[in-house]
Amino acid sequence: MPLWLFIFLAALSIISSLGVILQRHPVHSLLALVLTLIVIAVLFIGLGATTVGFLQMIVYAGAIMVLFLFVIWLLNLQSQPLEAGRLALKLIGALGSAALIAELLAFVLHLPAPLGHEHPVAPDYGSIGRLAQGLFSRYLIAFEITSILLLVGVIGGVALARRTAAGGAGGSM
């Protein structure tokens, strides 16, 4: 991936993720997060992992975030001013994060090869065929357990969000 493109996408993702944590209205935060997810998907594609990049767009930006949006509407959240006071905690949080970033960057930017430079990979590196071969051979058990996990997630989500008979009629639109 050319360097100028990477810098542009990195700046975009950092600005939008700052938007996630600093916006007052939850829906604006959510849209900033959707933008971050799409930029990260583009970064995946730039790294050659095209299948995972598009899966990120389909699953994360297209489904999970819509779920968040529905919950924000159900709870009817309004724009809330950022919590006032607790300046000490905010200052410590910001400084701590900045220190963590500085330390991690100092470590990460000077890694030895093969992380230090970009070298070419096979043309079908990110293809769905190779990913499927890996998933169904080395990671087969994890794959099967994940399907059970999704089933449990669906049951749990429905059970938690359902209103009991005593609580009133089921809310449906």
Binding site: F6, A10, S13, I14, S17, L18, V20, I21, P26, T36, L37, I40, L43, F44, L47, G48, A49, V52, L55, Q56, V59, A63, I64, F68, V71, L74, L75, L77, Q80, L82, E83, A94, G96, S97, I101, L104, L105, L109, P114, L115, G116, H117, E118, V121, A122, Y125, G126, L131, G134, R138, T146, L149, L150, G153, V154, G156, G157, L160, A161, R163
Partner: protein, 100 residues
């Protein structure tokens, strides 16, 4: 050319922004979104590492992280809905019943 270590640097920055979001915001939904941001930063690191070694393992792990994040988001949002029905608030500071 952008080497994979730059991508890992970006992943570190996004992760720390997510941590700051979890620590600084009190709205439970925004905390949840910051957690999703952290998960995505880690996904980016995995893909960068997979690219550095030319193996498919990075992408397979990202596949599983995405799936687990989807299930976790569904259940977590169900929990938030249940909490909201009980307390009518989602300010994380108000859930202090079990505090000393």
């Amino acid at each position: 050319m952008a080497p994979p270590s730059y991508f890992m640097g970006l992943s570190a920055i996004l992760f720390c922004i997510g941590v700051a979001g979890v620590m600084l915001r009190r709205n439970v939904i925004i905390i949840f979104m910051s957690i999703e941001l952290m998960l995505n930063a880690v996904n980016l690191a995995f893909v960068a590492l997979g690219r550095a070694w030319g193996s498919v393992d990075g992408q397979a792990i990202v596949f599983f992280v995405m799936t687990v994040a989807a299930a976790e988001a569904a259940v977590g949002l169900g929990i938030i809905l249940a909490i909201f029905r009980n307390r009518a608030t989602i300010n994380a500071d108000e859930f202090n019943l079990m505090r000393w």
